[in-house]
Every structure is written in structure tokens, then in C-alpha cells.
């Protein structure tokens, strides 16, 4: 216990609390000297005033980073002191609770944090999903409903960002034959700054919540309770994690590939990681900026989006969606990369049209920058802008189609095996197909006028998120778990997880689309029983519980498999990828001998071929 309390994580949290109080106290002191209000209790003043809380929150984040000692080397360098080039991690579990420079440890830290947030966000959804099981208000009041609904959105988004960061961090250096990321300290910093961001987001629950959804549109967000500011600050800080992580990943792929690994001989997942990182690196600033503007509007009375002061609420939506649409591709591209990576292994065939699949990732990423205003067809923006955005949005279907056709062609004529990771890959493919096919009706303006802000959209994007992220993410966890631990996850529990989650997901999202078409608005705490949706909502609630149960089974599986799972230190899936050519788990700095790329990555079925050859 004492060992746990002295870890970087616990020190950081203690520092964050003290830093928050110190920052808030500092502002309060200044306000006292200026004769301003310093204390109170209403929806924007929880003891401390709003400016005190915001500044305190910021100081809290910096204190957290200082407390974890993730800044230590940089501070020493700044003071002119020397440090070791590499740090050895302490043995055992302790290394996961403090700053480590090993990309594999950081990858696991990201992944576990992501799973924790996935559970928290899922729990929020279960609570309000249960409330919706019948019309009328059962046990939530509308404000708490709105807060839980909003937090579900943003907590899941942060969970996804950390999840893809975890998988990319863990896999990319291994796949390209690097000892680590290019900037290991920046890598640790990127992870550790996400932790206080998550704390800030969750703290909004205790500070009045916020009732805007994760989109935070002003003027509603300009008059929401104090929790709104904690949400803005949390997202702002989490954005740093994304931007710096993407920078690091791009530098790693550009600089540290093994000899012979030309662009079109990289594992396909690396292409997806690059495409995703290009978006994260260049678009994340816009969401941080748009939230910062509302934050300043509240704190300093700047009227950016306040029509009474000449501001324009629609400008916010443009800034917001300029990140938040491409963000969707940040979430799904790594997942689609995992599908492309695993299909050849389990079909025992080369990935059909490797170059086309690689280019389609870049194509999606680039077209994704030009479609943001399709979220705003009913917003009151210039009407003539709607048609060009309809064209650009529909274009996304082309590179996405290339992926689907190539996947099916990969399966055709293979020798298909379906262990648990492959089952999740296939479910991801099917669910993402449903998400993709429900897209065009939202893209054509006139039909979107009906569908916008209904449960149809809710069903559509839950299918894209589950198909593009959740299913492939779990596929990756089942697939690379032996690599990380030397143990295999239990297949039987894996099947239970799979069937419950897949059936729950299909019932939930298809039903969502159905009630949406019939007139169910999204983001409402209650619905008119005259609409006749009570039974539908009950079915959706049961399906949601099935999904929750499946995740619980997964956690049980991880726990029991870690303790007494089947040992698996070899090439469990008979893959050609370099990380499987050496025993699991891999040591720090990965490969003992360097390798050279001597062939194509997915030449399954070509006798005598090899992808990599280890130097003697």
C-alpha cells in the first residue's frame, strides 16, 4: 500500500489537488484585494468563484505533471544538469503507475486508462439509458440527465483517443523495428497530461455539470453551470496529449524504420497510424481554440459568440466541427488499420490491393478535412454552402468503399480461421458497414433536414464508432495480449464477450435508427408517450445492458487469464509481422538483433518468402 501511495500517479493526484487549491486561492486573494466577490454558492460559484476554479484547474494540471516527475529530466536539462540517456523501469507492477520511457509500458498505460474511461463513460450511458427505458422521469432530473449524457460523449471520446494512442504506441515501434519512439520523454509527457485532463472532465460532475452535450454550442454553453468550464479546460488539456502524441508518432515512422522498410513495405497498420496522426497533429488545435474562446467569453466578457456584442454563434460551430469531424476519422482509421492488418493473418492470404488500402487511409484523412459543415445543414449558415459540402461528404464513400471491397477480396479464396480476434474483426467490418451505409442519407441535404438531431444520427455514429473503433480495439486486445503478457486470453469467455456485444450492438443501433426516422429527437431526458416509443426504448435498454455485461466478461477474462491463462510466448497466430518472430513478452528496447526487410509484409501462401530477416 505504501508502495502504491508513493507512485508517480498518486503523487501527481495529490499535487493536482494542492495545486488547484493554491491556484484558486491565488485568484481569490487578488479578487479580495480588488474588492470583488470571492465566495458564494450558486450554479457558477461553488465556494470559489468561476475565475478562481478555472485558474486553479490549470495550475492543478501543471502541478500534477510536476508531481509525477515526468518533467524531471527536462527541468534538469534546463538547469544545466546531465541525466541518463535511458532510465530502467522498476520491476513488477510499480512501473505502470509512474512515468516510464518504454513505449510498451506507455502503450499499456494508455490502454488501461482508456478501458477505465470506457467503463466510466459506459456507466454514465447505462444510467441514463435506464432512465429512458420508459417515458416520464423516473429517477433522474433533467439537469443530471443532460450532464450524464454530455459526459458520456466526452468521456468516450477521450477514452477512444487514449485507446488508439495506446495501440499505436505499443505497436508502431515494434512493427517498424525501432527500439522506442523518437522522443521517449515527450511520449511519457503525452500520456501523463491526459490523466489530469480526465480528472478535470469528471470533476465537472461535482461542479454543477453542464447541459450542452459534448458539442458545447454557445450561447447555451456561455450560460451553463461551472462544470462547463471544467469540461472546456479538460478537453483543452487532453488536446495537448493528442497533438504531441501524433507529432512523436510521425517522427518515429519517418526516422526509425528498419532497413529496407520502404513506404509500401510498412505493415498496413502503420499507414493508418500515419493518416490518423496527420489529422490529430493539424486539427486538434481548432477544438481547443473554439472552447478557449467560449471560456474567455465567460471569464472576461469577450463577445466572440454573443450576438448582443456583435458575436456570431455559428462561427463557433465552424471552428468546432473543423476538428470534430476529422476527429471521427482519427477514431476510426486505426481501427480500420487493425482490420486490414489482421484479415490477411486469419484468411492466410495477402491483403488484397495493399497500396490501394494504404492510399485510401490517406484519402479519407484528406477528404475528411473538407466536409465539416455537413453537421450544420440546419444551422442557419449560408444556404448555398450546403451543396458543396454535400458533394465533399459523399466523396468519403469512395476511399471507404475501396477498403470494404479489398477486405472482402482478401477473404475470398482464403483458408479462413475464426479465433476470437478474427471474430471481432469481422464484427467490426459488418458494424462499420452499417455505420457507413447509414451515412449518405445524412449527407444529402434534403434528407438530412429530417434526420438531423434525431436518434437516426445517434444510431449511425454509434455504428461507426463501434465498427471503426470498439470492435477492432477489442480484436487488437485479444490478438496482442499474448505479445504483452505471454498469456493467451480465454477463448470461451472471448466468445461470450463477442456474441453479447455484437447482438446487443446491432439491436441497439438499428433500433435507434428506426425510432429516429419515426421522430425521436436526440438528447432528450423524456419523450412523449403518445409517440409510442416506450417498448422500443425498453428493448434498447436491455441491449445496452448486454453490451455492458460483455465488457464485464472481458475484464473477468483479462483477470483470470493474467493469473492462470494458457502460456503463449511464441508466434501464436502464425503471423509474418516482425514482432511475432521473437518470444513474448518483449524486453525493453524491443529487438535484441536488428532486422532487415526482405519481402512483402503479407505474402501468405507464397512458399519460401519472408518479410523480415534478423541480422546475425
Amino acid at each position: 500500500m505504501k508502495k502504491f501511495l508513493s507512485t508517480g500517479l498518486m503523487r501527481g493526484l495529490a499535487f493536482q489537488i494542492l495545486g488547484t487549491l493554491a491556484g484558486a486561492g491565488f485568484v481569490t486573494l487578488i479578487r479580495f484585494l480588488m474588492g470583488l466577490k470571492i465566495w458564494g454558492w450558486d450554479k457558477t460559484t461553488y465556494g470559489f468563484t468561476e475565475p478562481a476554479w478555472v485558474f486553479g484547474g490549470l495550475v492543478g494540471v501543471l502541478s500534477f505533471l510536476y508531481g509525477t516527475r515526468v518533467l524531471d529530466d527536462w527541468l534538469k536539462w534546463a538547469a544545466g544538469k546531465e541525466t541518463h540517456e535511458r532510465h530502467e523501469d522498476p520491476p513488477g507492477w510499480v512501473k505502470f503507475f509512474g512515468p516510464s520511457l518504454d513505449h510498451k509500458v506507455i502503450g499499456i498505460q494508455y490502454t488501461v486508462t482508456s478501458l477505465i474511461l470506457l467503463s466510466v463513460g459506459g456507466l454514465f450511458a447505462l444510467i441514463f439509458r435506464t432512465e429512458l427505458a420508459a417515458s416520464g422521469l423516473q429517477f433522474l432530473d433533467p439537469d443530471l440527465y443532460n450532464t450524464l449524457m454530455s459526459l458520456h460523449g466526452i468521456v468516450m471520446i477521450v477514452s477512444i483517443l487514449l485507446g488508439i494512442a495506446g495501440v499505436m504506441n505499443y505497436l508502431v515501434p515494434m512493427m517498424i523495428g525501432a527500439a522506442d519512439m523518437t522522443f521517449p520523454r515527450l511520449n511519457a509527457f503525452s500520456f501523463w497530461i491526459a490523466v489530469p485532463a480526465a480528472v478535470l472532465l469528471l470533476s465537472s460532475l461535482a461542479l454543477g455539470g453542464f447541459d450542452t452535450g459534448w458539442t458545447g454550442y454557445p450561447p447555451l454553453s456561455a450560460r451553463a453551470p461551472l462544470g462547463m468550464q471544467m469540461f472546456f479546460l479538460g478537453v483543452f488539456v487532453a488536446g495537448w496529449s493528442s497533438i504531441l502524441g501524433a507529432l512523436n508518432l510521425l517522427a518515429t515512422v519517418l526516422r526509425l524504420r528498419a532497413r529496407g522498410m520502404t513506404a509500401f513495405r510498412m505493415p498496413i497498420f502503420v499507414w493508418a497510424a500515419v493518416a490518423t496522426s496527420i489529422i490529430s497533429l493539424t486539427a486538434t488545435q481548432l477544438i481547443g481554440l473554439s472552447f478557449q474562446l467560449v471560456m474567455f467569453q465567460r471569464l472576461f466578457g469577450m463577445g466572440f459568440f454573443d450576438p448582443a456584442k456583435g458575436g456570431n454563434p455559428i462561427i463557433f460551430q465552424h471552428l468546432f466541427w473543423f476538428y470534430s469531424h476529422p476527429a471521427v476519422y482519427v477514431f476510426v482509421l486505426p481501427g480500420l488499420g487493425i482490420i486490414s492488418e489482421l484479415l490477411p493473418v486469419f484468411a492466410r492470404k495477402p491483403l488484397f490491393g495493399y497500396k490501394w488500402v494504404a492510399m485510401s487511409s490517406l484519402g479519407i484523412a484528406l477528404v475528411g478535412f473538407l466536409v465539416w459543415a455537413h453537421h450544420m445543414f440546419t444551422s442557419g449558415m449560408n444556404e448555398y454552402l450546403r451543396v458543396p459540402f454535400m458533394y465533399s461528404t459523399l466523396l468519403v464513400a469512395v476511399p471507404t468503399g475501396v477498403k470494404f471491397f479489398s477486405w472482402v477480396a482478401t477473404l475470398w479464396g482464403g483458408k479462413i480461421e475464426t479465433p476470437t480476434p478474427m471474430m471481432f474483426v469481422l464484427a467490426g467490418l459488418v458494424v462499420f458497414l452499417l455505420g457507413g451505409l447509414s451515412g449518405p442519407p445524412n449527407a444529402t441535404v434534403s434528407t438530412d433536414l429530417h434526420l438531423h438531431d434525431t436518434y437516426f444520427i445517434v444510431g449511425h455514429f454509434h455504428d461507426t464508432m463501434f465498427g471503426g473503433y470498439v470492435f477492432p480495439f477489442f480484436a487488437a486486445l485479444y490478438y496482442w495480449f499474448p505479445k504483452a503478457t505471454g498469456k493467451k486470453l480465454n477463448e470461451k469467455l472471448g466468445h461470450w464477450h463477442f456474441w453479447l456485444m455484437t447482438s446487443g450492438m446491432l439491436v441497439l443501433t438499428l433500433w435507434m435508427m428506426r425510432v429516429g426516422l419515426l421522430g425521436m429527437r436526440r438528447r432528450i431526458a423524456d419523450y412523449d408517450p403518445a409517440l409510442g416509443f416506450d417498448l422500443s426504448h425498453l428493448v434498447m435498454t436491455v441491449a445496452a445492458f448486454a453490451i455492458a455485461l460483455s465488457v464485464l466478461i472481458f475484464f473477468v477474462n483479462v483477470y483470470t487469464s493474467l493469473r492462470k491463462g494458457q502460456a503463449a510466448t511464441g508466434n501464436v497466430w502464425n503471423s509474418r509481422s516482425p514482432e511475432w518472430q521473437v518470444p513474448s513478452p518483449m524486453p525493453a528496447h524491443n529487438y535484441e538483433k536488428e532486422f532487415r526487410v526482405v519481402g512483402e509484409p503479407y505474402d501468405y501462401g507464397l512458399p519460401g518468402s519472408a518479410y523480415v530477416k534478423f541480422e546475425d
Binding site: A347, R348, Y354, T378, A397, L433
Partner: protein, 337 residues
């Protein structure tokens, strides 16, 4: 080759079954506006293509899982096929053409939905937290219910007094946001007599779920009768003094979302026993509530905020409450002991 024919046959079969199945489900609410026709037409066309594409991916996927599944004890890999450039070009170019066709159809369809009738009757819509107000400038009346004559185009000019709201009647299909600081427009031609519900479809705070208003589509004759009735009622109200019964009607329409009359705490203070009660403001001022205080609270709510409640921005003028209405409301409050 035989496999290809089997799959092609199954694709067509599954596509047809999916499309017929979806249609049999009854996917949309009834059509009650001229604008709904082109929208439903396009959606139906899209459903056809969606059903086909669904089958095009799912059938070969499932077929492969059955036909190319590894048999027990079998070893070795599948055929070594790296790709086929002609196929890749095909499934890039053909979807591109389909997409461009749909973009063109979508633009043309939008044009049909937006087709304007210069003779359209104008209705001014005001959205506020949390309710709707409709003004008919042509007739000099206002209402909390949206009465519309059938088969005549209506031009809605919409404003919001506080945050973004959105105007949507599912049976009319089209949706348009109301944005503070500007006037947004939407044109709707109701095509079917009946009662519908207008719903706010943009999250607008606590009571968003309940921000509904009744919509009544009637024949021109009934509409004219309704207008005459409203005009007469307005004239009668102006002629007589304040009236608690009318005040209660106004309460139910405008005030109920935030103020209770049974003593329970809402977004704002309760009205029960308000007159003659001691009031404490956020700045500490204390006094006994009288009529003048109540009137000022409704007109300028930010000027005197009761301790323990957030400042709100209710705008009585913008939602169309006249001085006579306010007098009615005060009269109603007097009855709440």
C-alpha cells in the same frame, strides 16, 4: 466461376429482400407537407442503393466464411493473390460515379424542397427557454398553437431570444435552427389536415425535452374562423380589466416551465403565496413582494435576482406578452395563497 454466379444471384436476392423488408417496416411518419414528398422520394432511392451495397459486401463475406473456412486438420495458406489493379480501379470509379449522381440528385432535390411561393403567408416564430410563440403579422394576432391552413405555403421567419433552438415537425420533415441575433427562414406547405407536434430538436437546456407546441392544420375556412375568434378574443381582453383566468392560461403557456404554483422549487422561485412575502435578493436586499416588484421581475428579470436562483434572461416583450397580459398574470398570482 460457378461461385461468382452463386454469389451474384444471392446478392440480388438479399438486396431485394432487405429493401422490401425495410419498406414493410414503415420507416417514416406520415407525410403532412409538400416538402416531405421529394425528401421521402430521395430517401427511398437511397434505401435501394443501401440495400444493394449491403448485400454486395455481406453476401460474399458470409459466403467466404462458409466456403473458404479452414477444414479441421487442414494446413497451408490460401491462394497467393496480391491484388488486381483493374478491379481496384473499377471499385473506385464506379462508386465515384454513383456518388456524383447522388450529389447531383441531392442538390436538385434540395431545390424542390426550397421552392418558394411569393404569395406565402408569413408566420413569425419566436423560440425561448422553453416555449414557442407564433405571430401572424397579416392578421395582427399571436398564438401558442401553430394554426395553419392546408395546401398553402407558409414562410416561417424565426428568432430566438436566448439560445439556439430548432424547429421540427416530423410529419413535415424539414428542420431549421433558430439562432439568437439573426432571422432564419423555412418554407412549409402543409398538405394534410390534422394535429401534429412541433418539437425543439436542438438541445437548449433543462426543459429541452418538453419544448413542444401543438400544430393544427385545418381547411382555409376553419383557419379564417380561428383567426376571427383570436382577433375577437384579443379585442375583448383589451376592453376588459385584468382577469385571473386569462392569467392562468398565460401562466400555463409561458411561465410553468420554471415557476411552480404549489410551493415546489423550480428553475425560478415558486409563485405560491408570493404577494406579501418577504424576498431576499442576491445582493442582500430584503423587502416585501408587491405588484410593482412582480411586474419589474417579469420585464427585467436580471435587475433583481432572488437569492439562491440563477439569473435568467426571460424576455417578456420578445415572446409577445403585452402589458395587459402581465396585468392578467399578476391577477392570477394574487389568487395563489
Amino acid at each position: 466461376m460457378r461461385r461468382i454466379f452463386v454469389v451474384a444471384f444471392l446478392v440480388v436476392l438479399v438486396a431485394v429482400l432487405v429493401f422490401l423488408g425495410l419498406n414493410a417496416l414503415g420507416l417514416l411518419p406520415e407525410q403532412a407537407a409538400a416538402q416531405a414528398e421529394p425528401i421521402d422520394w430521395l430517401l427511398n432511392l437511397e434505401l435501394m442503393v443501401i440495400s444493394f451495397l449491403f448485400a454486395l459486401i455481406i453476401v460474399p463475406l458470409v459466403y467466404s466464411l462458409v466456403a473458404f473456412r479452414r477444414k479441421p486438420g487442414e494446413t497451408g495458406d490460401g491462394e497467393h493473390v496480391e491484388g488486381n489493379t483493374r478491379l481496384e480501379i473499377g471499385w473506385t470509379v464506379i462508386p465515384l460515379i454513383i456518388v456524383l449522381i447522388f450529389a447531383y440528385l441531392g442538390a436538385e432535390n434540395l431545390g424542390r424542397v426550397r421552392r418558394a411561393d411569393p404569395q406565402a403567408m408569413q408566420v413569425q416564430v419566436t423560440g425561448y427557454q422553453w416555449g414557442w410563440q407564433f405571430k401572424y403579422p397579416q392578421y395582427g394576432i399571436r398564438s401558442q398553437e401553430l394554426y395553419l391552413p392546408v395546401n398553402e405555403q407558409v414562410l416561417f421567419k424565426m428568432e430566438s431570444t436566448d439560445v439556439i433552438h430548432s424547429f421540427w415537425v416530423p410529419e413535415f420533415r424539414v428542420k431549421q435552427d433558430l439562432v439568437p441575433g439573426r432571422v432564419t427562414e423555412v418554407r412549409i406547405t402543409p398538405s394534410r389536415v390534422g394535429r401534429y407536434t412541433l418539437m425543439c430538436s436542438e438541445l437548449c437546456g433543462t426543459q429541452h425535452a418538453y419544448m413542444n407546441a401543438p400544430v393544427v392544420v385545418v381547411s382555409r375556412a376553419e383557419f379564417d374562423a380561428w383567426v376571427a375568434e383570436r382577433q375577437a378574443a384579443a379585442a375583448a381582453a383589451a376592453a376588459s380589466g385584468p382577469d385571473a383566468a386569462r392569467g392562468e392560461e398565460k401562466y400555463l403557456m409561458y411561465c410553468k416551465a420554471c415557476h411552480s404554483i404549489d410551493g415546489s422549487k423550480g428553475v425560478g422561485p415558486t409563485w405560491r403565496g408570493l404577494l406579501g412575502e418577504q424576498v431576499v435578493l442576491t445582493d442582500g436586499t430584503t423587502f416585501i413582494a408587491d405588484e410593482a416588484y412582480i411586474l419589474r421581475s417579469i420585464k427585467e428579470p436580471a435587475s433583481q435576482v432572488v437569492a439562491g436562483y440563477p439569473p435568467m434572461a426571460f424576455n417578456a416583450e420578445a415572446v409577445g406578452l403585452t402589458d395587459a397580459d402581465l396585468a392578467d398574470i399578476v391577477e392570477f398570482i394574487k389568487t395563489l395563497k
